[in-house]
Symmetry: C2
């Protein structure tokens, strides 16, 4: 059992759109990711996904609206909901989702990461 310092973990990587695993519990992963630019439209068929913003402002486009998530805020995107994250400036997020979740959901693209690094 170790304690995890979130900011320290963020200092260990620089790549964008490449979630790192920093914790596991109840068949879920806690992940950290740095985001910049536009991601792809996708949905997770079976998984709800939590985005908590640690630094910056994250825009998430949905088919019917756009939401902006700021520091100290989180949003839960329900399974089956199409979304497209956009980070105009660099954003740091904490993700909480089931272990099997693929970052691009049902949209295989150059952003797809099949195997995630553990930090």
């Amino acid at each position: 059992m170790v304690k995890i310092n979130v900011l320290e973990k963020f200092s260990l990587f620089t790549e964008y759109w490449s979630p790192k695993i920093v914790g596991e519990l109840n068949s879920q992963y806690v992940k950290l990711a740095k985001l910049k630019g536009e991601f792809v439209w996708h949905k997770h068929v079976h998984e709800d996904e939590l985005f908590m913003v640690i630094k910056g402002s994250l825009t998430i486009e949905f088919r019917d609206k756009t939401m902006i998530i700021n520091e100290n805020e989180f949003i839960i995107v329900p399974q089956g909901t199409e979304h497209k994250p956009i980070a105009e400036e660099e954003v740091w997020v904490l993700l909480f989702e089931p272990k099997g979740t693929i970052n691009t959901g049902d949209t295989i693209s150059v952003f797809t990461k099949e195997k995630l690094e553990e930090l």
Copy 2:
């Protein structure tokens, strides 16, 4: 779908040791709690439990060691692990755990909250 501002939610209650539900995903709850003083020794037989400290310093006693979790840090207490949270000064924590988790685990006491409020 709504975004949740964690600090705003903390401003809505003052009770200690009374977790509030602020999110639900994949049969897990996101909860917020204010802690002060000593809690009871307990374990969760089937649930891993994540404590992320939002404000203050949380001490958790285990049978073989003591850990101090500070702001921007989290710890995952594995199922079956006896623990006793202690907050010398007020601490704000975010919890992730399965929906059925009882705050005092297998130790029914005056701290036990069977029904949690949703904020």
